[in-house]
Each structure stands twice: as structure tokens, then as C-alpha cells.
Symmetry: C2
Subunit: 465 residues, 2 copies
């Protein structure tokens, strides 16, 4: 979160927009970061938005529009005339342009493509072939690129000629005459060497730090993270350098993937959109949650069925009702904890299905100790506190026996639930499903049923019912 001081120019801008003071808006916008302008755009009233965009103009608006939530982009672009849109699209980097075209409707996409110059249009159409969530769909092609047979002087001249259209020169890539990726350079390697030094002598070879254009965006982001890269080169199957995925894309991708994990673990389904929480409609919120809920509700009826079948036990020993919800819930809680840890560890690439045995053994022991701890707590509670309440017990039954039954049931339930919670995500991955489909509520619903069976069976056996 930006600190308070950071909000000041934003506040000033908001006031200027409120007052429709165009010259102040223009002046403030000139100095401000596009991310802050995007924030202002979202916070002002809808009827002021077009005026705001018109005032700052298409050049300044270009980068800002990219930062808006998907659903606002088409409307924002509607503020501009075709000739202004031409300027705006020309101003955008190629990956941002593609992003925008992927987010608007088909009709708008065709109309916008018609506004691009022939070169931009061809490039954009070729990038639109890659799925949005692949490395190719995320890459920018405007990169610093030099040839291996050049000297430092020739390389610098080539970069200088291209500098206007290049997004970043923080990393410069070296290709052979056929455009195949060989190595990389930093700008300082060029600047601090003599002009006749061959590029070949100062480049660093690039080994495995490259990604196929068709690879999942998460693979690209994880490589950027693992290798601490500013830019990861994207290649085709013949190793031709196509573009780069940059560090800021990687951060966005990782944030999106984390959000997706979090939501799936909580049993929220469907495509994770780029919308913010508040910009998402009730209907979408409803749809993304209803599926799992309804399915799990029917699983819960199984728990109810077990309860109905064994209900007579509860009416024989009312005291057993006191611990039933707890035994059942403890299983859901530990199972959910275990699955969450395993799912996150898999997302971070820390464990793979091959480690299933190790994970299971770890969770089996952790689960047993957790169950034993809870069992002990509840047995103590039963023996020490309950006598003060003078609860009715059937003749011949002691609190000690109830305490034993509760402790044994809890240990069994927690151990098995933890074990199951850790193995189900690994099982899902083994059959090529996303491990995060094993949501915590799903684990809870499953171990609710087993918890009921365990509780009633143990109680029957130990209390002789």
C-alpha cells in the first residue's frame, strides 16, 4: 500500500476532476504515474470519466488504460475518436496492445485492428494467435537484439536505431544470423568495452533460461522467479528468439496464480477474472460459489443419513451429542490444513507426486499427534469439568468411559482426516487434475461422513451400546 504522502497528488487530481478544471488535470496528469491515473479513473464518477480521458489525451491515456480492470477497458476506449485511438494504439507496447484486444468484444477487436498501421496490425495478429495465458500471449517483441558477429560499435548503432520502439534495454539478447538465441548482454557490457570488441567475446551464453512460446505463463513466471531474471527470452521450437516476458508480467502472473489457488482452496470455482472484488457483479460472485456449494450439500446429506441411522445412540446417551460436532469439525479443520499446505507446496514446486510417500508419512504422524493432543484435552475436560454440571448418564456408564470414547474417536478422526487431506491433492495431480480442486470444504464434507461413522462406531464399541 502506498503511504499517505503518496496519495496527495491523487487527491489533488480528484479535486480537479470534480471541478472539471482541465488545465489543472492536464498539468497533474503529466507528472503522475499511469498506475495512479488508472486508480483515479476507477474512483471518479462514471459521467466524469470521458472528460478525464479526453483531457489527458490518448498518448497519456494509453498506458493507463492497460491498468484498468478488463471490464472497463472497452468503455474507456469509447471516449476517443478513431484518430485518437490510432495515436493510443501506436503508443502501446505490443504486448499491452494484444492484452487490450483480447479483453474487448469481437466487434471492437476488428474495428481496432483496422486502426493499426500495416506493420503493427501484422504483428498484433501474429501475437493474437497465442493463448492469453501462455508465454507467447504475455511476451513483448520490442526487445534489444544484436547479432553475434557484430562488434560493440555495430551493436550500439543497431540498438540506437531501434531505441524508440524498444521496451527495455536492461537486457539485450544476442542471436545468430538465423535469429536463434545464443546469449545475452547488459548495456554496461557494451558501454564499458572498446568499440571493436566482438559481441561474441562479451556475451554470456544462455543455457536453460528460456521458455517456449506455447508454454503456460506460470512456467515462465516461475523461471523468472527462480533465476532472478529481469527478462526471460521466449523462443519457438527451433529456438528462434520471439520476444521476452518481463519481470513485471511475472509478478502479475504470480499474484493471479496465488489468488486462483486461494479461491480454489476455499471452494470458489470458475475462471479467476482480472476484475477486482468490488467490480465483480453479484451474479458472477453467485455463479463462482454456487457449484461447489450445491455439490457439497448433497455430500453432507450422507452425514445426515449416518446421524439418522445412529440417532438412537444419541438419545440413549445425551452426553454424546456434546462432542459430536467437535469430533466432526476437528477432522474437517485438520484435513483442510493438511490439504492447504500440500497444495501450496505443490504450487511453489516444493513437492511433486513422487514425494507422496514422504508427505503421507509426515502428515500421518502430524495428524496422530494433533489428534492425540485434542483427545487428551477433551478427556481432561470431560473428567475435570463435566462432573460439576451433573449431566444425566445411563445407569452403569461412567464419565471415564465417555472420555475414553471421545479421545479414541478424536485421535482416529483427526489422524485419518489429516492423512486424507494430504493425499487427495497429490492424487488429483497424479490423475492430471489441478490439486487445488481438492478444496478445504470438499475435504471437510468427506471427513464429516467418516467422522460420524468413526464417532458412533467407537462410542458403540467402548460404551457397549
Amino acid at each position: 500500500m502506498p503511504d499517505d504522502e503518496a496519495k496527495l497528488p491523487l487527491d489533488e487530481l480528484m479535486r480537479a476532476i470534480e471541478a472539471a478544471d482541465c488545465s489543472v488535470i492536464r498539468e497533474l496528469a503529466e507528472e503522475m504515474h499511469y498506475a495512479d491515473l488508472a486508480q483515479a479513473y476507477q474512483e471518479i464518477e462514471e459521467e466524469q470519466r470521458d472528460l478525464f480521458l479526453k483531457t489527458i489525451g490518448p498518448e497519456k491515456a494509453a498506458d493507463m488504460v492497460v491498468e484498468l480492470p478488463d471490464s472497463m477497458i472497452e468503455q474507456a476506449l469509447g471516449a476517443f475518436s478513431p484518430s485518437e485511438l490510432k495515436v493510443l494504439f501506436h503508443e502501446l507496447s505490443d504486448d499491452d496492445r494484444v492484452d487490450i484486444l483480447q479483453d474487448v468484444g469481437d466487434e471492437a477487436r476488428q474495428r481496432f485492428l483496422g486502426l493499426l498501421g500495416p506493420e503493427d496490425e501484422e504483428l498484433t495478429r501474429s501475437l493474437l494467435k497465442y493463448e492469453h495465458d501462455t508465454a507467447g500471449g504475455r511476451m513483448t517483441t520490442r526487445i534489444g537484439r544484436v547479432f553475434v558477429h557484430q562488434t560493440v560499435k555495430q551493436a550500439i548503432e543497431m540498438l540506437r536505431r531501434g531505441q524508440e520502439s524498444t521496451e527495455t534495454l536492461s537486457r539485450i539478447f544476442v542471436v545468430d544470423q538465423k535469429g536463434r538465441l545464443l546469449g545475452k548482454l547488459r548495456f554496461r557490457d557494451l558501454a564499458f568495452n572498446t568499440w571493436d570488441t566482438p559481441v561474441r567475446d562479451i556475451m554470456r551464453e544462455i543455457g536453460t533460461e528460456r521458455v517456449l512460446a506455447t508454454a503456460d505463463q506460470e512456467e515462465a513466471a516461475n523461471m523468472l522467479l527462480k533465476y532472478d531474471l529481469i527478462a526471460l527470452p521466449v523462443v519457438d521450437e527451433f529456438d528462434h528468439l520471439l520476444g521476452i516476458v518481463t519481470h513485471d508480467d511475472a509478478m502479475e502472473i504470480l499474484q493471479e496464480e496465488s489468488t486462483e489457488d486461494i479461491e480454489k482452496i476455499a471452494g470458489i470455482g470458475g475462471e479467476q477474472s482480472e476484475e477486482t472484488y468490488l467490480n465483480t457483479t453479484i451474479l458472477t460472485h453467485f455463479r463462482r460459489r454456487a457449484g461447489w456449494l450445491t455439490g457439497l450439500a448433497f455430500v453432507s446429506i450422507l452425514s445426515g443419513y449416518v446421524m439418522m441411522r445412529f440417532g438412537s445412540i444419541l438419545s440413549q446417551v445425551f452426553l454424546l451429542s456434546l462432542f459430536l460436532p467437535m469430533v466432526v469439525a476437528a477432522g474437517g479443520n485438520t484435513g483442510g490444513q493438511a490439504s492447504t499446505m500440500v497444495i501450496r507446496a505443490m504450487s511453489l514446486g516444493e513437492i511433486n507426486p513422487g514425494a507422496a510417500g514422504e508427505v503421507a508419512w509426515k502428515e500421518l504422524r502430524t495428524g496422530f499427534f494433533l489428534g492425540a493432543l485434542l483427545g487428551l484435552c477433551m478427556a481432561l475436560f470431560t473428567m475435570v469439568l463435566l462432573p460439576f454440571f451433573h449431566l444425566p448418564l445411563p445407569p452403569g456408564m461412567s464419565l471415564a468411559k465417555v472420555a475414553l470414547a471421545v479421545a479414541v474417536a478424536l485421535t482416529t478422526q483427526v489422524t485419518s482426516a489429516t492423512f486424507l487431506g494430504s493425499l487427495l491433492p497429490l492424487g488429483a495431480r497424479a490423475v492430471k487434475l489441478d490439486p487445488a480442486v481438492v478444496s478445504a470444504p470438499a475435504i471437510a464434507a468427506i471427513v464429516d461422513v467418516s467422522g460420524m461413522v468413526i464417532y458412533f462406531s467407537v462410542a458403540r464399541a467402548i460404551l457397549g451400546l
Copy 2:
């Protein structure tokens, strides 16, 4: 995840280590990325690790050691003699050196500090003053820095003199004579301008894109993310430029924070360590989960108390048991979904406590629709399917009445649980608590109790029990 091809050099290395073939190990390590070397170190047998480190030598090992899980670092450093450690520590960037010293024990820290040269030691001690999770604790001080009154020629010469010790020249920062931050430059701005151009004319002013050294690391990471920066300048309260936090730190911070959110939502407590799942001991796994579990177990006894009190209703109408677990669980599920969405949206800076009203109204409606949907499903299930099972009902009671009671109870439970699930994290933030302390299991435990009360009360009222 790196693709298969990427694993080949790693596999070769593993074989060479297995065979203790030092010359092959050295040759392979020379070409490999330090992140891959760190992976190899973790995967080989413990007794081979020292040999591996000795073979690649302290210079190559330096960056690799930083990538290891915290608990392995001290042991890895133990492979080297004091003179080798000197080389290793000299090789490290200042932020990595500080990281390592923060991760080892007190005795080792003092010993290692003694191995540093006087200049490095002073710098390291001054950086150790910042908490590990602040911008200052994460920053590197070896940055490209030029003065505003210099010309391009003077600036390039200053950078060239410092180049050996500079971590990144991707961004160069401009300060006044007192060292106060004024603006930034890219290397190409220097390279593509004439030598007598004043730095003042080509620098870009830096507005709000700076962070205090004492600010939380998450604030720094969020600014890097928001403003798409490669490096965020870190300043003291007088705006003196102290260092930078880089994009790769930001990615790590965001991943750590996401993991922390995920774990808290699942009711896993305590400090999130940098350990991987498999490297964490059973005892730590146990400790981090036991707290919440025990607390929630006692809350669940309240549910049991309600059940015991109203138990006679269940023995009057056995059919009610069939739906009890479902009504209760549905509340936990929707409440957990709502709190998860709100917690994540707050982490991403999408909503703040001021938006509580909007969030509550959104969730109240979403909850009502979800409850109504579930209620309808269960009413249909009761009316259409249950007649086939000839379940016993008390005289004068119809399935239609039971269906009505279940539907009303479900709608009430789901609406109130969703509402509560969305408001509790906002409430936690309002009283300065981390919203993620309102874990999904905690919500579930609370709405279990209310669910029991709602179910029994509604059933009593509608069925006239």
C-alpha cells in the same frame, strides 16, 4: 516449473556428484545457474554435500548458498575454512550477506562478521539494524548513483569506477550533493546522449515512487508491482537515498505473503518460515496447527451443547437429523468463501475498511441467493425423492412442512454466515488486526453454533414441536 530439457545438466551434475568426479562437477557447475546448483545441493545425500561445495569453491558457492532454505545455510557454510569464507562473503551482494547473517545463530554471526573486511563489516552492521521484513532489511546498497550536477561524461566515469561493486545498472539514481534522491536515469539515456549533456536535463524526476527504510517489505513489494519497477529506491526520513529493493526481492516477498495468507485462511498459525514443506519438521508442523485446532475444538463444544439441549427434537422427528449436518456445513462453506474473497481482496489492496458497507451489501445479497438456491434444491429433494424411502414421520406431520423448515433454515443460515464471513475480516482490520486471522475454520466454528440454533428454532416454529 522448468521443462524437461532444463533438467538435463542437473541430472548430469547429480551423476557426477554420485561418482565423486570432481573435474566434471567443476566443469558443469561453471555453466549452471546458482538456483540449479542450490536445487542439486538439496537433492544429494547429506554426506556428499561438503565435497560438492568444496569442489565448486567459495566463489561459485556464494550465490548458491543464498538460495538454500534458512535451516541449511549454517551447515553449508561449515564446509569452508575461514579463508574460503572470506572469499565467499566478499563475493556476496550486501543484501544477501545480511540475509545470511540473519539466518545463522548468534555465535556464527559474530564469527562471520569478524571475517569481513572493515568496510564490508561496517556496512553489514549498519544494515543488520533494519528488521528482516522491512524495506531497509531487504535493500541492496550497491547501486548506480550519480550526481545531478554532473555531465554525462562525468556520470559514466563515476559508474565505470564503481562497476565492480554495483549490483544493477538497469536503473541509475540521481542525487543532490547531500545525497538526497532527485531522479533516475536508464543506462541508455547516458549512452545515447552527448558527453557534455548535463545529467539534470536527461533525468526523470522521481515522485512518490520511493519507500522509507523502516516501511514493511510488503509495502515496497506492492509499490514495485503497482508501478512496474525494476528497482524501488529506499530512503531515510530526510530523503537520503540508502539503497534499492529490486524486482526479484519483490517477487519473493509477494510469494511469501501469498503463502502466509493462504496458511492463515486455513487456520495455520505462527511465523511463516522460508522453509519448504518437506524441510519443515513434524514438530513445527504440529505447533503451527495445534493452536487454532484446540481453540476451535472448544468453540465446537458450544455446538454440541445446543445439540444436546435440542436433542429431543431430533428424536421426535428423526428425519430432521438427515439435514442437520448439511445446514450447518453450508453455513461454514459460504462463510469461508466470503471471508476468503474479502481477505484476498484486502491483501491485493482492492478494498479497505471504508468499503465495509458496500462489501456487506454485496455479500448479503450473494448469500441470500446462494441460500435460496440451496433451500430450493433441498426442498425439491425432500418432496421428490424422499417419498420413495418411506421414512417414518410423526402423525400429523407432512414432508412438505419438513421441506419448508429445511429451506427456511438453510436460507437464513447461509445468508447470515455469508454476511458474517465478509464482515469479520473487515472488522479485524478496523481494530488493527491482520484480516487473515479470521480463518475459514474459525468462521465455520462460529456459524456451526448459529446454524444449530437457527435449524432447531426454525424447525420448532414451523413443525410446531
